[in-house]
C-alpha cells in the first residue's frame, strides 16, 4: 500500500486542477469530502472513476429545508489508494432533479430508486427510478423529508388506542412529585426529533 497521506494529495490534485471545488474537507487520512457545483457532478464522477475510484459505496440525499435545498451525496472507494471520497452538491428542493449516474456506476440504479422514494428526487436517465421499491402503497409525501411528521401520519392513519391508568400514587411528598414531573418533562422534550 502506498502512503496514505499522499493518497489524499493525489486525490486533491485529480479534482482540484480541473474543477472548481467549493469546499474541501479532509476528514482523516482515509476520507475526503468535496462540494462541487451541480453541473460538474457527472464530470467529477467520471474523472474519479478514471483515476481509480471504481466502486460506488453509497448514494443518498440530505434535506435542508431552511435553505430550501437537497444535498446529494456520492461516496466512492478506491481499493488501490484507500480513500473514501464524498462528492456532495446542493440541488433545488422545489423541483429536485439530478441526472442519473447509472451510465458511470451501474450499481447506482437501486440507490437512485430508493432516493426517489424517500426524498422525491427525480433521476432522468434511470429507466425505472419511479417504481416503488420499499414502501408499498405509500400515499404521502416522501418520508425522509424533514417536513414529514410520522406522528401526525400515524395519528391520521390508525385509530388511537386507549390505555387505562391502573395505579395511583396516594400521598407523595411535594419535592418528590416536583422531581418526578421535571424528569417526565425532560424525557418528553427528547421525544419526536429536535426542537428548534
Amino acid at each position: 500500500m502506498t502512503n496514505s497521506m499522499s493518497n489524499v494529495e493525489y486525490l486533491k490534485g485529480v479534482i482540484g486542477q480541473t474543477y472548481k471545488v467549493l469546499e474541501t474537507d479532509v476528514i482523516d487520512q482515509y476520507q475526503v469530502s468535496f462540494v462541487v457545483k451541480q453541473d460538474d457532478v457527472l464530470q467529477v464522477l467520471v474523472t474519479l472513476k478514471n483515476a481509480g475510484w471504481i466502486q460506488m459505496s453509497y448514494l443518498s440525499a440530505i434535506d435542508w429545508p431552511d435553505e430550501n435545498k437537497f444535498e446529494m451525496v456520492y461516496i466512492l472507494m478506491n481499493w488501490e489508494r484507500p480513500v473514501h471520497v464524498q462528492v456532495r452538491t446542493k440541488i433545488d428542493r422545489n423541483d429536485p432533479v439530478m441526472p442519473s449516474i447509472i451510465t458511470i456506476y451501474p450499481g447506482a440504479k437501486y440507490y437512485e430508486r430508493e432516493c426517489h422514494e424517500f426524498f422525491g428526487v427525480k433521476f432522468p436517465g434511470n429507466p425505472d427510478y419511479e417504481k416503488q421499491l420499499i414502501l408499498e402503497l405509500w400515499d404521502d409525501m416522501p418520508p425522509l423529508r424533514k417536513d414529514f411528521d410520522p406522528q401526525a401520519y400515524s395519528d391520521r392513519k390508525f385509530t388511537k388506542r386507549e390505555y387505562s391508568e391502573d395505579y395511583k400514587v396516594l400521598s407523595e411528598e411535594p419535592s418528590k412529585k416536583a422531581k418526578r414531573e421535571t424528569r417526565k418533562e425532560r424525557a418528553e422534550s427528547l421525544k419526536g426529533g429536535p426542537k428548534s
Binding site: 459505496s57 440530505i62 437501486y110 419526536g192 426529533g193
Partner: protein, 368 residues
Amino acid sequence: MKQMKLFLGPQHPGMHGNASVHLYVDGDIIKRSFLLPGMLHRGFEKGMERHSWVNNISLIPRVCVVEPDINEMAFAMGTEKLLGIVVPERAHWIRMIILELARLSIHLMAYGGLGGPTGNYTLMYHAHADRNSILDIFEQITGHRVYHQYIVTGGVRKDLPKGIEKDIHTFIDSLESRYEEYRDLGIENPSIVARIKDTIMLPESVVWELGVTGIGMRSAVGKPYDIRKVMPYARYDQVDFEVPTSDYSDARARIDCKLKEVIQSISIIRQCIEKMPLGPVRVPLGRGQSMRWTVPKGYVYSPVESSRGEFGYYMVSNGGTHPWRIGVRGASYPQGLLGIEKYMPGTRLDDAALWVDTMGVCSPEIDR
C-alpha cells in the same frame, strides 16, 4: 413454453429474513427475477433522526439482525470522528474481541445456512450449537445475547468480567479442533460440492459493476481488499492476520474464503487477549448531562468490515442533540437488489436459494 411465476420467500427455509424473490421460470431455468424488499422496513433512518444521539445507541443494533455489533462500531466510530474523542487503548482491544466473536458467529450461521438449500441439516445443527456458545460468551460480557449495545461512543460500556478469557480460549480451541470436521461436513462433502462447484459465478467485471464488497469481491479479484487491512480501524494494524482470497469465483470459493476467515478471526482473538493492556475502557461524554450531549457539525462516513463486506454509516450532524441524517450502507445492497435482477437469471430453480445464501444477502440491512 409458458413462463411460470414462483416466489422464493418470505417463508422459505433458504431465505434469510423476510424478503421475497420473484422468479419467472421456464422449466427449471430462471428467466427473470427480482427481489421484493420492504417486508422488513422499520423506518430506521427516520427513527434515528427522531431520537437523540444517546438514545440511538439502543436503536442501531436492530438494523442488522444477525450481526448487530458492526452497527454499534460504525456508529461509535462516526460519532468519535465528529467529536474528536480518543478512545482508551484497552477499549480498542475489547472492541476487536467483540467484533471478531461476532464475525465467528455470523460465519457459523451463514455456513450452517448452507445446509438448508442443500438438504444437509446436520451442518446447520452443528453450526448453530457452536454459535450458541458464542452467545453465551456475549451474555457473560454484555448481559445480552443478541443485541448487545456494548460498543458505545467513547469506548465500551463496561470492562470484561473476570475469567472470561478462559471461556473464550476454551471456545475457540474447541472450534479450531472441529474445523476439519466442519470442512468435511460442508464444502468437502460430495453431495454439497456437486451443488456449489462451478456454479453461481461472480466474475470480476460483475463485482465492479454492482459494487459488491467483502468475500464476494476478494474471491473474484484475488486481492486482500478488506477494510481491516487497507484502512485499519481499532487496532487491526497491530495484529497479524491474513485476508483469504481466491482466484476462482464460484460459490465454493466464496464459502472456502469464509471458512478461512474463521481461522483468521480465531487467531486475532488470541492475539487480542494476549496484547490487551489494562486501563480504563470508556471516556465520559459529558458531565451529568449525557442525555443531552451534542455532536459538532459535520459529515462523516464510517465504514466497517462486516462479514458480507463494507458496511457503513453516513452521518450528518447540525450540531444538535439529534442526528440530522443517518444513512445506512448495507453490505449486501448491491448483490441483493441489482445482482438478483441481472445475474440470477440463467441459474436453475433449485439453485436460487443457494444463490441468495452464498452471495450473502441479508434482507434487514436492505430494508432498514
